[in-house]
Structures are given as structure tokens and as C-alpha cells.
């Protein structure tokens, strides 16, 4: 039972800590927590003088922005997984120029705020290469890809390194070539390890895409800003914005948790 502050926050280890509460208790408690949250939001919304009827008029603009975000993140997702994979291999390469190039790239990218990276790359390349407006969206997607792939490559690297040495020994003893060892032994096992954090990173990618608004890419956040400057309904528009992102991120986040549980018991 809860008797002190310690009991409230520090879960006991061992047998007691592993017992999950009965289903009914879980359902009631999560319902309660959800109601408290909804109640809080409701109180705020009800006290504020919100104009939903006028905001409703701009729904198609926001929907267009939302669809653009879905597109941008979908493309960036595929590209950043590919690039992240290559970067993780590059970081382990025995060809030293490649190893250090990829390491520096990953390290620098991870250590610069995305906002600064977007400005630096966009205005840097725009100026240096004379890139026109038509490449704005493409550049945005590529900058986002670069940023996320730095994180994803670290996830992959951890996954590859989690595969035991004896597994690689076994693969060698069988007579697998290096490519076969990666293909049949390392990558399948690493994949199971990295799937939950990789899916988690996807949530970050979706949220991070909102920063592309600063170089005037008409994605969800940029659209919300535009709409707000026309209808002055800041709170209403941003509330819709938050909900729009939640619709994308919550299912993915739940999926990540589910994957984590599933793979925890299978090793």
C-alpha cells in the first residue's frame, strides 16, 4: 500500500514489482486518469472565449497542411531509415576515411539544434548552389532526413553491436561470407532489437517536421501559423494543430510500446 512518498514514486523490485494490477483496476484507473486530463483541458477551453464556428471555416486549409506533413514525414521516414542504416555501417567501416566522415557527420548533426541546421543548410546551399524556390520542399525533406538519420544510425549501431560475438563466430565457422553474416545473422537479430526505439524515433520525426515551417514549407505548423495570422484565433488553431499531431503520433507511440513488450519476452 501507499504509506509514504517513497511508496508513491519508487516501485518495489522483485516479485511484488512484477505483479501487474488486475484488469478491472487497470481499466478504471486509466479511465480516471484520462477523465482528469480531459477535465483539465475542458475547464480551460470552457473559461476561454473561444470561437469554434469561425475556426471551423478554415478547416480545409489546416487539412491541407496536415496532409503535407503526412507526406513530408512519410518520405523523410523512408529516406532517413535508409540513410541511417548506411551511416551506421559507415561508422563501423574499416575504411577509415568513411568511418570518420560518417562519425563526424552524425556527431555534428546530433549536436546542432534542428532549427539551426535547417537555416544553415537551407540558406547555405541556397546561396552556394543557387537553388531556386522549386527545391524548397525537397531541401526541407532532405534536411529533416539528415537530422533524423543521425539518431537512427545510432539506434542501428547499438542494435548491430548488441548481436553477440559468438553469433558472429558461429556464422564464420559455418563458412558465411561477411555479406552473408550481415544478411542472415546480424541484421535480422539487430532488427528485433532496434524496432521499438526506431518506431519511437518516428514520433520525433513527425514532431520535428514542424520546424520546417521556418523555411516556409506549407506543412501543418506553417499552415496553422498562416491561418492564425488571418483569423486571429491562435488558441483554436493551435489546439487543432496539437490534435492533428496527436492523431499521427499516439498510435505510433503505442505501437512502439507494444513492440517493446513483445520482444522483451521473446529473447
Amino acid at each position: 500500500m501507499i504509506e509514504t512518498w517513497r511508496d508513491l514514486f519508487l516501485a518495489p523490485g522483485g516479485a511484488r514489482g512484477d505483479v501487474s494490477p488486475p484488469p478491472l483496476a487497470r481499466a478504471l484507473n486509466s479511465l480516471f486518469a484520462l477523465l482528469v486530463l480531459i477535465g483539465l483541458v475542458w475547464v480551460c477551453l470552457a473559461t476561454l472565449p473561444l470561437n469554434w464556428t469561425q475556426a471551423w471555416g478554415d478547416r480545409f486549409d489546416l487539412l491541407k497542411g496536415w496532409l503535407m506533413t503526412v507526406q513530408v514525414t512519410a518520405i523523410a521516414l523512408v529516406l532517413s531509415v535508409l540513410l541511417g542504416f548506411l551511416l551506421s555501417l559507415g561508422q563501423r567501416s574499416y575504411f577509415l576515411p568513411l568511418r570518420y566522415f560518417t562519425r563526424f557527420l552524425v556527431e555534428i548533426t546530433r549536436c546542432i539544434p534542428l532549427l539551426a541546421l535547417i537555416f544553415l543548410v537551407w540558406y547555405g546551399f541556397e546561396g552556394a548552389l543557387g537553388i531556386g524556390n522549386q527545391y524548397r520542399l525537397l531541401s526541407g525533406i532532405l534536411i529533416l532526413t539528415l537530422f533524423e538519420s543521425a539518431y537512427i544510425s545510432e539506434i542501428f549501431r547499438a542494435g548491430i553491436e548488441s548481436v553477440g560475438k559468438t553469433q558472429i563466430e558461429s556464422a564464420r565457422a559455418i563458412g558465411f561470407t561477411r555479406t552473408q553474416t550481415y544478411r542472415y545473422v546480424i541484421i535480422p537479430q539487430a532488427f528485433r532489437q532496434v524496432l521499438p526505439p526506431l518506431v519511437g524515433q518516428l514520433v520525433s520525426l513527425i514532431k520535428d517536421s514542424s520546424l520546417l515551417s521556418v523555411i516556409a514549407i506549407a506543412e501543418f505548423t506553417q499552415t496553422a501559423q498562416q491561418t492564425t495570422s488571418n483569423n486571429y484565433l491562435t488558441l483554436e488553431d493551435y489546439f487543432v494543430l496539437a490534435v492533428g499531431y496527436l492523431v499521427l503520433t499516439v498510435p505510433i507511440s503505442l505501437w512502439s510500446r507494444w513492440l517493446e513488450r513483445r520482444f522483451k519476452y521473446e529473447t
Binding site: T166, S170, A173, I174, F176, Q180, Y184, Q189
Partner: protein
């Protein structure tokens, strides 16, 4: 099996693990390597397995000198079966798939041939009921037996076993040792690193005791265990029998 080791040396940095080992075997079916931990047994086995480059010396297996460069070693490793202490099997595939994979991808069998061969091998070792289980669902003994089945299925010229029972409890050890004995009776050539002295004594045709990177004594098991010539052998065996 014909095995000739000529002045084999292995150093890791300044540390000498195998110190000028020479050995001639002809017509021996089972060689057991015994000796204290850190004596160089596993390293010697790994050199014969083509998993480790010797610093110097020559290894000739069945009249063919092992060439220590990547391509030749790949071919060499494909011609022998190696079983380690533990974690031999790939945890993400079933027992059957574990045996089929090298047959298909390394030895060029078709999918159907590989399955037939793998099932045949599992049946022979009374493991067919477990064909569709993953390693995590098998006991430690079953896992090692499947690993041995995988090594056998490719029809290797020699099977190398590196402490195959060290990670197992006594009951599982017995089940794995029985299987190894079966292999011996089939006339397969075995090179075995083991701490099971009783097993080495009754199974091996020749026993080599390695300590400090050198072969301290080499001979038939009756000599090694019955009338050891070397002081090192005597003290090693007496330490084992103390408790």
C-alpha cells in the same frame, strides 16, 4: 584424420598463447585436447578451425596445408564442422532453419534438398519433434545437439568441438556426450577440447595435454590417465581428482 602441426605459434601482442607446438597424427579418429584453462587448447582448436591466424608455423589437415588467407580459410571452414561452448544456434530461426541455412546458402543445396537433409539429421538424433522450435524453446542439451547436427549435416571432413558441454548441467552433459560418442562410432573424425576427463579417457584415441601453450604430454589415453610421464600432467590430474 591426418593432422600435422609444425612449429605452430600464436601470440596476442606480447602474450604467447601457443608456443611452438608440433604434433603428428595419422589414422586417429578422435583427438582430445585437455589441460588447465588458459593453456591454449581453444586457441589451437580455433587455428585448426581456420578462425584464428597462427603467428607462425604450418597446419596440414588430411594432407592439405591450411592457407591462412581470407579466401582459402573460407573454403577451409566450409569443409569442417565447428561447435562452440554455447550460443551456436541463431536465436531468430527454428532448429530446422538453423541446419538448412548453411546447406542452402553455403553448400548450394536447393531448398528441398536442404530440408530433407536437415530433417534426416534431426531424425537420426531424435530431435525431429523439436524441428520447429526456436533455440529459446529448447533445453541447453537439445540446443547443443542441434548445433552438432548442424555441423554434421554438411558432411565435414572433421568435427571440431570446443568444450561442447561446459555450459551444461550434468544430465544435459550426458545427453550431449552420448551423441558425440555416436559420432565416434560412425567413424567420424573428431577434435575435442574438453574438461570431461572420463569422457576423454574412454572416447579419445589420442590425448594431448596443453599447458602454457605447449604440449606437455601426448599419447594414448591409457598413458595420459594411467601412467602419465610428465610432472605437469600428474599435477593437473591430481588437482582435478582432489575434490
Amino acid at each position: 584424420m591426418k593432422l600435422s602441426l609444425q612449429h605452430v605459434v600464436k601470440r596476442f601482442g606480447t602474450h604467447t598463447v601457443i608456443d611452438d607446438v608440433s604434433l603428428e597424427l595419422d589414422g586417429v579418429h578422435c583427438l582430445a585436447l585437455i589441460g588447465p584453462s588458459g593453456g591454449g587448447k581453444s586457441t589451437l582448436l580455433r587455428i585448426v578451425a581456420g578462425l584464428e591466424y597462427p603467428t607462425g608455423g604450418t597446419v596440414i589437415l588430411n594432407d592439405k596445408p591450411i592457407e591462412y588467407h581470407d579466401e582459402a580459410l573460407l573454403r577451409h571452414r566450409r569443409s569442417i564442422g565447428t561447435v562452440f561452448q554455447a550460443f551456436n544456434l541463431f536465436p531468430h530461426m527454428t532448429a530446422l532453419k538453423n541446419i538448412m541455412l548453411p546447406l542452402e546458402k553455403v553448400h548450394g543445396r536447393t531448398h528441398d534438398e536442404a530440408r530433407d537433409l536437415a530433417e534426416g539429421t534431426l531424425r537420426r538424433f531424435q530431435l525431429l519433434d523439436h524441428a520447429h522450435k526456436r533455440p529459446a524453446e529448447l533445453s541447453g542439451g537439445q540446443r547443443q545437439r542441434v548445433a552438432i547436427a548442424r555441423a554434421i549435416a554438411i558432411k565435414p571432413q572433421v568435427v571440431l568441438l570446443d568444450e561442447p558441454t561446459s555450459a551444461l548441467d550434468p544430465e544435459m552433459t550426458a545427453e550431449v556426450l552420448e551423441l558425440i560418442e555416436e559420432l565416434k562410432q560412425e567413424g567420424r573424425d573428431l577434435l575435442l577440447v574438453t574438461h570431461e576427463m572420463g569422457f576423454a579417457r574412454c572416447l579419445a584415441d589420442r590425448v594431448a595435454l596443453l599447458a602454457n601453450g605447449r604440449i606437455e604430454e601426448f599419447g594414448p589415453p591409457e598413458q595420459i590417465f594411467g601412467a602419465p610421464q610428465s610432472e605437469v600432467t600428474r599435477s593437473f590430474l591430481s588437482r582435478l581428482l582432489k575434490y
